[in-house]
Amino acid sequence: MLRLPEFNYIQPRSLKQATKALADLGADAMLVAGGTDVYPKMKRGQFTPRHLISLRGLRELKGIRDSKEGLWIGAGESLTTVSNHRLIAKHFPALAHAAESVSTPQLRNMGTIGGNVFVDTRCNYYDQTFFWRQAVGFCMKKDGQICLVAPGSSKCLAIASSDTSPVLVSLGAEAVLVSRQGERRVKLGELYRDDGIDYSTKAKDEVLKGLLIPKEALGRRNVYLKLRRRGSFDFPILGVAATMDIDERGECRYASVVLTAVASAPKIVPEASTLLQGKKVTKELIDTVADAAAKISHPLDNADMDYWYRKRMAKVYTRRALESLAGLDSSA
């Protein structure tokens, strides 16, 4: 049986109290909301905080509402609530589907969208019990010195595993972060770094309050395709989020493709906008974007299924996603 080690549990009554506790306790503290990633990792010795600051029950982190700036999603809303929400299902089916594809019904009732957006990166050499990791000599992400996937690598190569973040990035969502210094708004895509250990640029004393999907994203077509071995529940071993706006003449006004599980951060495919925007979308153009998606995908031998297969599927899934948005569905 895996046991939860002892720790000091802090239950702030407000976001202000939470940010103060986080600033005061520094590196010894971790935030916890749903706990669906934090507690298993504490049981396996991957996370070893002395203090846990609970965000559960903070009213400031709740609520999904339409505002003049766009759709606001509180970071503390559960994945079940996000996936079932009327406005999200209507305008952003990709986000509803991504949230619904995370783990299991029970865990979606507990896990929050804020937790999923900043979920820890994953690797076959890291997501193991303490005893397993000890037996192979530990890796640099926790307790070791080298990367066991690529021993010559100077950085950790654990992969980004959030289903919701590529969708939110492709929709141009902004994150609202709160610290003792105040509140700031930043494009969600800027909060990721391609480093398996230090995978977020969010400051250590900041709390994610919520996410804002901008008004201009309303009406844009969007889709999320996820590759995994088991349809029931699994982390993505590839995720493709695509957003597109096509005018009445069939010309593309906006296109964005974001991949997950191909690096330590969600990867934007720049060719989606440079090649498609301002043009009539054709199968040939989509193929070129799909080739570019595969080219920037660097899956390694540290997740389920073969890495070469996952790279090939980056092309296939990108093509399928864009063809479905452009109404050019093919069965290939």
Binding site: L4, Y9, P40, S103, T104, Q106, L107, F233
Partner: protein, 160 residues
């Protein structure tokens, strides 16, 4: 640090003093003695520890007691309707929906949660609802059958 919490457990108001970091699963099994809820993986993957927290099924192996003040908890022991077994329990017995039985409490909790929302689920909807409950014995066929039969029992009861 210990904390006194007040909760409703299977319909009865209960007051208990627990360390904040004690998991709900351990609280139920070790402190209160309700051992119907099982620990399988301990990491939220298998669903054997499923209970209802404020009406929603959750993995009790990942819920801290410190968060439970004022909560409403229902465990497998609270599934019976008076002296009678719940239709999902009857159907699992009737159809042989259990072999070793370890996953069964979690399966029953999720099945009831599904049927409360959707009394006429398709096989796909049943499989989807039970996607967070692993069984290593049955191959799921009889479990699915039992949920379908429980759905019929519940619907017939409502018709009468």
């Amino acid at each position: 640090m210990k904390k006194k919490i007040q909760l409703t457990l299977n319909g009865k108001s209960t007051s208990i003093e627990v360390p904040n970091h004690r998991l709900l699963l351990d609280l139920l099994r070790d402190e209160i003695g309700l051992t119907g809820t099982k620990e399988g993986c301990g990491t939220g993957d298998c669903g054997a520890c499923t209970v209802y927290l404020n009406g929603k099924p959750v993995n009790s192996c990942l819920v801290l007691s410190g968060e439970l003040d004022g909560a409403d908890i229902v465990t497998i022991e609270g599934l019976k309707i008076g002296p009678e077994l719940h239709p999902v329990q009857k159907a699992f017995i009737q159809d042989g929906g259990a072999q070793c039985g370890y996953c069964t409490p979690g399966m029953l909790m999720m099945s009831k949660a599904l049927l409360d929302e959707n009394p006429n689920p398709t096989e796909e909807e049943i499989r989807y609802a039970l996607s967070g409950n692993l069984c290593r014995c049955t191959g799921y066929a009889k479990i699915i059958q039992a949920v379908q039969d429980a759905a019929v029992m519940i619907r017939n009861k409502h018709v009468q």
